[in-house]
């Protein structure tokens, strides 16, 4: 099982490799266990009833209470569907805008190209919280308060900033000969984007998709002020409200004496984390590749 990836430390045959190796594994494993504790508790608690939660808090209790998940889905299902709709539409738009923008800035030559490019890159470093209040007012003026558009538009207006930055670097790395030969065959710009750039920049797009999806899924402050209608609420705020109502107003501590509320609540948290985990399982390999191949080299 020899590793083919680049070696960080060239192993010299004279060193007592074994101790070093054991030490490294031990350290990583301890860190891993520590980092796994909250996840372990989350999953364990999601299968407990009130009594099990009260008396066997740290261990896995049997029988597993699958019913918690049914109850949880009734509560978080709608929030998740809302978020998935918003994330999907926003993501598709964001990826399209980033792909086109990246292509234009990497492959086309036109006046003011650099100016236009640096105008957006300069804003890569701006924290959006800064314009939070005026942005809120713009959305209110345009009648977007309490609509899904209020969640989708920020993805389209803000997401491509990093997207174009990443895709430009990515597309610049595609060999020019490919485009040249396609042009000789009479391909137009749309063909060049759709038939050549798109298939070759999938890892970059996957990187963007993962980053953006994590962002939308955890987006909290914006839906908190923009969405008042619970039927349209996003998952992060939904979970927050849920925790507050389960603990009768105060999240802090054991204010709730009814221990049966916790199982379904945690089951809801587990369900709410699943889309991110699934996405990462599907796109995770691309995501890492995309990072290696593109943005981080610029």
């Amino acid at each position: 099982m020899s590793s083919t990836t680049s070696t960080q430390v060239a192993p010299s045959t004279r060193r007592p490799l074994r101790y070093y190796q054991i030490g490294s594994h031990l350290f990583i494993t301890v860190m891993l266990l520590l980092s796994f504790i909250p996840t372990y508790l989350l999953i364990t608690w999601s299968f407990k009833n009130g009594l099990q939660y009260r008396w066997e808090r740290w261990a896995i209790s049997f029988p597993l209470r699958w019913r918690n998940y049914v109850a949880a889905w009734d509560i978080v299902g709608d929030y998740m569907i809302n978020t998935l709709i918003v994330a999907f539409i926003g993501l598709m738009g964001m990826l399209l805008l980033s792909l086109i923008g990246g292509y234009v800035f990497a492959r086309m030559d036109f006046p003011f190209r650099e100016t236009l490019y640096y105008a957006i890159i300069a804003l890569l470093m701006v924290p959006w919280v800064l314009s939070f209040i005026p942005a809120y007012m713009v959305y209110v003026r345009l009648g977007l308060l309490n609509t899904r558009w209020a969640m989708i538009i920020p993805e389209l207006a803000g997401g491509p900033i990093f997207g174009i930055f990443l895709m430009r670097a990515f597309i610049a790395g595609i060999p020019e000969e490919l485009f040249e030969s396609a042009r000789c065959d009479g391909a137009g710009v749309l063909d060049l984007i759709g038939r050549i750039t798109l298939p070759l920049s999938l890892p970059g797009l996957a990187t963007l998709a993962v980053l953006n999806f994590i962002g939308v899924w955890n987006s909290f402050l914006w839906p908190l002020v923009m969405i008042q209608d619970d039927a349209k609420q996003m998952i992060a705020v939904g979970l927050y409200k849920l925790a507050r109502s389960a603990t009768y107003g105060g999240v802090a501590g054991w204010t709730s004496q009814d221990f049966s509320v916790w199982g379904p609540l945690y089951a809801g948290y587990v369900i709410a984390s699943l889309p991110l985990v699934l996405l990462f399982i599907v796109l995770g390999k691309f995501y890492v590749e995309g990072l290696v191949d593109s943005g981080l080299k610029v």
Binding site: Q8, Y20, F132, I133, V251
Partner: protein, 302 residues
């Protein structure tokens, strides 16, 4: 014949014109959205930071009064201090740990790299709210896991969410959630360093320590810059974790600038003042970013 030529010319002109315009047409949808929903509000924020406006009714122009008030606003200064604490923690505690983990996982001797990589990214994939509430329960004084563990090894239980410790607790949650992500970035950077560089160093007799300082770290500079910038911006926008863990309290001990901005805007309904808070934040981040670019030498290379 004459008309055909003219039409021909017109077509050719249109073709050329179209080709000239194409790039602008392609990027205009994004730029329109960008100007209306991102750049516009950003510029408007500067004006709003100089007015008094309770959310409805007329606006009163105040000039720099909001900014002057900020410098005497104790809660603002406290939130600025807290935010700085989180940013320092993120850069000088979380990032070195992330780098160290990335180095270990990338090392040739470590097996099952992909397993470790996925395992450390798991915290990022849990929902922020879920994770923070888990920690809330683990920080609980009497039954929380942290104190149970401390007492099990004979130490005194700590009041994790009291004024003295709450910032540390918030930082702990952030560390748990984001170390893995930064590690992934470092790992990506490490894997893009060609193996022969290390072989050359090894031939020259460079030790592990020398190799790290002389080769790995300089070659990681672009990644490091990226991760440091992202961490700092992230800390200055830090919102959900302190709010969920302690409501910004007790006694504003964990309050971040973003928490304060929200409170001023939507609880006190002082939209103008909140915008001023935002702009001060922008100036700070701008200066920090320039310093970082200078420090990492990004200007010289581009």
């Amino acid at each position: 014949m004459h008309s055909i030529t003219q039409q021909h010319i017109r077509e050719r002109l249109w073709y050329r014109y179209q080709r000239r315009l194409a790039p602008y047409l392609f990027i205009s949808p994004f730029y329109i959205l960008f100007v209306v929903f991102a750049l516009g509000p950003l510029i408007a924020a500067l004006y709003f930071s100089m007015i008094k406006w309770p959310g409805t009714g007329p606006m009163t122009f105040l000039g720099l009064a909001n900014y002057l008030e900020l410098f005497e606003d104790e809660i603002f200064l406290k939130s600025l201090g807290n935010t700085t604490y989180y940013a320092i923690g993120a850069v000088f505690v979380i990032l070195p740990v992330a780098l160290f983990l990335a180095l270990l996982i990338n090392a040739a001797v470590v097996r099952a790299k992909s397993l470790f990589r996925i395992a450390f990214i798991l915290p990022v994939l849990t929902s922020t709210v879920a994770a923070t509430i888990m920690f809330l329960l683990m920080f609980e004084h009497q039954y929380g896991l942290f104190n149970v563990a401390l007492e099990a090894v004979g130490l005194n239980a700590l009041k994790w969410l009291d004024e003295e410790l709450v910032k540390l607790s918030v930082l702990l949650v952030a560390a748990w959630r984001y170390t893995g992500l930064s590690m992934l970035y470092f790992l990506a950077g490490l894997q893009s360093i060609p193996t022969d560089v290390y072989e050359a160093a090894s031939v020259d007799g460079a030790g592990r320590w020398t190799t790290f300082w002389q080769i790995t770290l300089p070659l990681l500079r672009p990644v490091s810059l990226f991760v440091v910038v992202v961490s700092i911006i992230g800390s200055f926008q830090f919102f959900a974790e302190p709010l969920l863990l302690a409501g910004g309290g007790p006694n504003n001990a964990s309050l971040t600038i973003a928490n304060y901005l929200y409170r001023v805007g939507f609880s006190y309904l002082r939209m103008g003042y909140a915008s001023a808070v935002g702009y001060i934040l922008a100036v700070i981040i701008f200066i920090l970013t320039l310093l970082q670019l200078k420090f990492f030498g990004a200007f010289g290379r581009s």
